[in-house]
Subunit: 276 residues, 2 copies
């Protein structure tokens, strides 16, 4: 089922590369082109079959009827300006940035047919070498239209995500950023802090608990600096909520309050059980 | 290679049950008996082949030349008094409690041939139904002798753990409790707090990051209340170290300090990379 003639993926990393590969495998576009800063990435993307053509120059996106910005938030913000000259106003434009408010505010001004998105998929391994055409199967994708978003563009982007196997939710960019600050950004801040707290000489005594709890601290610090700062207000709120919870545990330990501590942990375990 | 004539496992849960099963499978004892509060647990332990005989009465341990206490810390402390009448002073006694200082202080007074241990293995799934004779293969086990610990008892307990496949480290109970507060107890406190911080209605938008980071919050709250309180001083220290680290991230976000934040995350990621 062809949805687009020419799809341009700007940023052929884990998410962009996986989208490109899935779009080609499913025949959703006549042609898929990719842009990356790195020649090696483009060569590998082509070899894997994720793109038909690749270039380090943005001019390759000319003529695309769908443009996907798949880069860190700050990079998307700066690429939007550089890419605008190659994108006609009828082209549909989307992105997969991890926070949506800043990106939406900027891209909707530049591109009349823009609607942002965020697939809740991926991993701490970001490179093209880890791409996977099935990455979005049975995943969630949040689209973040605003009042003035073109319904036609939104419909088309939704069809794309459905074709990639994702269930689509719609919400405002602000709502997205609030939710993600709790379910994704806070866990990363916590995991980084936890990894940083363990004295190096104790590391060899760690079992699976510490490993799982800090796995996402293997994520790219540049990407996460960008995410934390572009979602500042929500991050401060979610960190505060977490600090309050941890200080309840600390204070129960301080007071040897067995009943109180048990009650806290029972409640938190019950909350965790709602995670499928 | 038979090391003992009769082994008594007091508490046939995940760790005790797996030890019993491995001891029988490897022929390390002439006989293995188990004690549990639950008839069903004993029936299942016998059916799986973890024990030769089981009872809810401690008297079944009579005649054992190795007694293993495999229960939560507080339970071990109270069982030691109840079991002493059935344990002759020449019997070797050990335990697998998660914190060691309180247990060592008490058990070494009662049993002349006591040396504590803590296998760094297990999972949040605690019941006999999840036992596994290979649980300790390639794992670490910490033994916590003190100056007055009988060298003969210690040697025998070390041989047992080596036979179960574990690499053995020796350190004082106090040192053990400090290390574990960082590599195990703190991650649990953090995971419980994190699970408690996410608004319930946002849970459905979580991806693998939140799941991994909070997996250990599925652990038994009773067991962990017990661990946190029996390791109070170290817990307060490790929580403080973590809070200081998180507040560095928070403060860099507050100040929009991109360079500072990146530096923190890079350092923490590097630390995480030392975890095999």
């Amino acid at each position: 089922m062809r949805l687009f003639n020419k799809v341009a993926v700007i940023g052929t990393g884990l998410i962009g590369g996986s989208m490109a590969l899935a779009i080609r495998k499913k025949g959703l576009a006549g042609e898929v082109v990719g842009v990356s800063r790195h020649k090696e990435t483009l060569a590998l993307a082509k070899k894997i079959g994720a793109i038909d053509k690749g270039s380090r120059e943005l001019s390759i996106i000319r003529g695309a009827d769908l443009v996907i910005f798949a880069a860190p938030v700050k990079t998307i913000l700066s690429l939007a300006d550089k890419a605008r000259g190659f994108i006609p106003k009828e082209a549909i434009v989307t992105d997969v940035g991890s926070t949506k408010k800043q990106i939406a505010a900027k891209l909707e001004k530049i591109f009349p047919n823009y609607a942002g998105g965020h697939p809740l998929a991926g991993s701490e391994k970001r490179s093209i070498a880890n791409i996977n055409a099935e990455m979005f199967k049975d995943s969630l994708c949040i689209l973040t239209p605003r009042e003035k978003t073109s319904p036609g563009a939104l419909r088309k982007i939704k069809r794309l995500w459905n074709a990639l196997g994702a269930k689509v939710y719609m919400m405002s960019p602000g709502r997205h950023d609030e939710i993600l600050s709790f379910v994704s950004h806070l866990p990363h801040a916590v995991a980084f802090s936890l990894a940083g707290s363990v004295p190096r000489k104790y590391m060899k005594f760690s079992a699976s608990g510490l490993k799982d709890t800090t796995r996402v601290a293997l994520s790219d610090p540049r990407l996460w600096t960008d995410i934390f700062l572009s979602n500042k207000r929500n991050m401060l709120k979610s960190i505060k909520a977490f600090e309050d919870n941890l200080s309840k545990i600390r204070s129960a330990i301080e007071k040897n309050d067995e009943g109180g501590l048990l009650e806290i942990l029972l409640k938190e375990k019950k909350k965790r059980e709602t995670l499928k």
